[in-house]
């Protein structure tokens, strides 16, 4: 990730597909693991852990959407609704049957995958903007259903309180506990996606995205793979919804409305479509930037404004700066932060002997 050979020396497909392109990459992973597992939880205030927790959850959701939109080329505006399917499935199982998280979490994912396949059916006949509208319909239908079926939503408030997840009898109720809980699933999602996209299935997804007729001619069953993409993507979304549910202690469909779907689309577009690292960058960028802008402006703004005035200025400026930076980054590199990162790396590949 942070290092490169000074040229291309690969001679086999195996070497090209390897998870660790260089032996030193293993040490990078070890260093990152040490940083996140040991150093950060010990050295950092709980507040920063809570931000990381939000990022971990967003990474799971963004990876799922990137598999569908980035790798398979099927647009979806229903990601938020799939999260709510996972959230309510897990909440109902956890409250009514008292099941632990290691059952409710995959169950939420599987239920979301099932619904995702149904909402994804139109993708067999339409693509592009048409599919976007079809998935938008899915989002609205799921929202309406949850709001109006008390059997799912648990009453007029449409929210179900769930107990904290517990492991070996310990209730995971502090940000520190939840940090490890959420990081485990974020890492699992990252590793699973890395392996998925270099497998036969991942290659088939990319083939469907690049030219579906050509993909069909070389023997890829595009119906199967499109639905599979919806299923896998929705599974991630469902898991993301379950993580939100356990993190907040409540499943509430108002947390998963249309704007959430749009937020996640923004993450993968800013981060970079069709890349795992891009999903991570996007999740970090969208979650962290508003917070960073605010903390920065709280200090700088106090040079010019009183306490009461500043609240108004920060809210307004923050939106402006956030939007401006998105536009700036996309103009600098339309393919997203991941491409920007790769450009920087390839610049340094033969540095200082570049021509």
């Amino acid at each position: 990730m942070f290092h490169r050979e000074s040229g291309v020396f690969k001679t086999t497909y195996g070497a090209d597909m390897a998870l660790y392109p260089l032996p030193i990459a293993k040490w990078t992973v070890v260093a990152l693991a040490a940083l996140f597992v040991v150093i950060i939880p010990l050295a950092v205030h709980e507040y920063y852990l809570s931000i990381l927790n939000l990022i971990f959850i967003a990474i799971v959701g963004a990876l799922g959407l990137n598999i569908l939109v980035g790798y398979t080329g099927q647009i979806s505006i229903g990601h938020g609704a799939f999260m709510s399917v996972g959230a309510y499935t897990a909440a109902n199982l956890a409250v009514r049957l008292g099941l632990p998280f290691w059952i409710t979490l995959p169950a939420g994912g599987l239920m979301a995958a099932l619904i995702g396949v149904v909402v994804g059916m139109p993708s067999l006949r339409i693509k592009g903007l048409y599919l976007a509208i079809a998935t938008l319909a899915g989002q609205l239908i799921i929202e309406w259903t949850i709001n109006h079926v008390p059997a799912i939503s648990g009453g007029a408030q449409a929210s179900i309180e769930v107990p904290r997840p517990s492991l070996f009898g310990i209730s995971l109720n502090t940000q520190g506990h939840l940090y490890f809980f959420l990081m485990f699933f974020a890492v699992l999602a990252i590793v699973a996606t890395l392996n998925l996209v270099r497998s036969r299935i991942g290659r088939a997804f990319v083939a469907v995205r690049d030219q579906d007729i050509a993909a069909e001619i070389i023997g890829i069953n595009i119906y199967r793979y499109k639905l599979l993409a919806f299923a896998i993507s929705s599974f991630y979304a469902g898991v993301c919804g379950v993580l939100y549910t356990y993190y907040f202690g409540i499943a509430n469909y108002e947390q998963f409305q249309l704007t959430v779907s749009i937020d996640y689309l923004a993450m993968i577009i800013i981060g970079g479509l069709g890349s795992v690292l891009g999903s991570i960058f996007g999740a970090i960028f969208v979650t962290l930037l508003p917070i960073a802008i605010r903390i920065f402006m709280e200090d700088v703004g106090s040079l010019f404004f009183t306490q009461a005035e500043m609240a108004n200025v920060i809210s307004g400026l923050r939106l402006g700066v956030f939007g401006g930076l998105i536009i700036f980054f996309l103009i600098v590199e339309p393919e997203g932060l991941n491409r920007l990162w790769r450009n920087i790396r390839s610049y340094f590949r033969v540095w200082p002997f570049s021509y």
Binding site: E46, Q175, D299, G316
Partner: protein
């Protein structure tokens, strides 16, 4: 110049805090931190941009008079844009800065933070937000609605209809509501009252974003022809409802709105105060400028040589911000007194909040009585009606059908 230097030192200090992490907020002597979540840029910005300045102004007023019992108050306001993840981040930030209490903003945000507030033992107020069952202080020990819940408002609306119509037996009441959990919440109360009072209730849901309700209004005025209408709408929807009802010739004197359909701006956007003659709304804070506390805020601005802020003209939401701030300060005052002048912890402030009684600020605040069991304070509302181009108080603080609401609260507590 000193201010400039001090601020840059602040920048350096924060950068250092960010860089090294783990740095506790350097609590200065005799300063208390209040956390305030707000929505100045999201879907409910029409409320937040007026309510939150009201909060800030009252705190500034308290600070200008030497603070509360000698403690200055620092407000840390965070805009959550009506989104849930930023609300969690805001709560953690408040906790890091050592906030003794926090003002919540938004129903889903309150729902998502209920559990965290209890775990962290920091009280949060949710006036007009959140669930009705949060009035039960035993069930949600650190959540304080401090204003009439939607259940209490439903009870009050029926009581007002009864007063207007004489007897409700055999009468027809239409309930026009925004089709979300908050809109549906009063239904159990209304249905129960329909049985006991003997009126017929029919509900009309308006889907989000609530800007198109021609079909529902036509259904109400053309086919159902009710004797009374109760509306529970948000955002721009209240204006649309006034305009549509007026357009169909329904007498607005037979309409009463819940608390979020009641601002001057809602009525003005429907075509002006003159058009909405007779339209009644419920309020959980005093309306208008005729209160000593608002005069003091104006005087404070005058002393600084500044004009009074324009938000003060939108008295409904501004006054609610002042009310929330006043109750926060009062809770802290009780806590400091109870500790004999020592700095209160967030748990002391919770006890202080539960001791609020007989604090009316000249009729501005309802006769709340917060107790460890009742975090709603009794569910008081006032009714204000548009008369002669302005909002006029027609019914002072009252609790409508309180026994029914208490019955439902008890049943809800038994269920959980």
């Amino acid at each position: 110049m000193t201010r400039f230097v001090r601020s840059w030192l602040g920048v350096a200090a924060t950068t250092a805090t960010l860089a090294f992490g783990g740095g506790q907020a350097f609590a200065q002597a005799k300063e208390l931190v209040f956390g305030l979540q707000c929505d100045r840029t999201g879907p409910t910005a029409n409320v937040g941009t007026v309510l939150c300045p009201g909060y800030q102004d009252y705190i500034a007023l308290v600070n200008s008079k030497g603070g509360v019992e000698g403690y200055k108050i620092k407000v840390l306001e965070i805009d959550n844009e009506y989104k849930v993840p930023p609300a969690m981040e805001a709560h953690e930030r408040f906790k890091k800065e050592g906030a003794v209490l926090e003002g919540l903003y938004g129903t889903p945000q309150t729902a998502a933070l209920n559990k965290k507030l209890e775990e962290d033992k920091i009280l949060g107020t949710s006036p007009g937000f959140g669930t009705a069952s949060a009035a039960d202080g035993k069930r949600y020990p650190y959540t304080f609605p401090i204003a009439a819940s939607y259940w209490s408002q439903g009870g009050a609306a029926v009581a007002f209809a009864k007063e207007k119509l004489g007897d409700l037996k055999g009468k027809k009441i239409a309930y026009l509501f925004y089709d979300n959990p908050a809109g549906k919440e009063p239904l159990p109360i209304l249905e129960d009252l329909a049985k006991t009072e003997g009126f017929e209730l029919r509900t009309f849901a308006v889907p989000a974003p609530g800007l198109e309700m021609g079909a529902q209004i036509l259904d109400i005025t053309g086919r159902y022809k009710p004797d009374f209408i109760i509306t529970h709408l948000f955002g721009r929807a209240p204006s649309v409802s006034i305009k549509e009802l007026k357009g169909k010739g329904f007498p607005l004197s037979k309409v009463v709105a819940f608390v979020w359909g009641s601002a001057e701006s809602d009525i003005i956007a429907a075509g002006g105060m003159g058009v909405a003659e007779g339209y009644s709304t419920m309020q959980f804070a005093g309306v208008g400028k005729d209160f000593p506390v608002l005069k003091e805020i104006e005087a404070m601005y005058k002393a600084q040589g500044k004009p009074a802020p324009k938000e003060m003209d939108s008295t409904v939401y501004y006054n609610r911000g002042v009310l929330v701030a006043a109750l926060h300060v009062e809770a802290v005052r009780n806590a400091i007194k109870a500790k004999g002048g020592a700095a209160p912890t967030s748990e002391d402030v919770k006890k202080g909040m539960e001791a609020i009684k007989g604090f009316t600020l000249g009729g501005f605040v309802p006769p709340l009585e917060l107790t460890p069991a009742d975090h709603e304070g009794g569910g008081w509302v006032q009714i204000w009606t548009v008369k002669g181009g302005k909002l006029v108080k027609v019914k002072d603080w009252f609790q409508g059908n309180r026994s029914t609401i208490q019955k439902h609260l008890a049943a809800d507590a038994a269920k959980s």
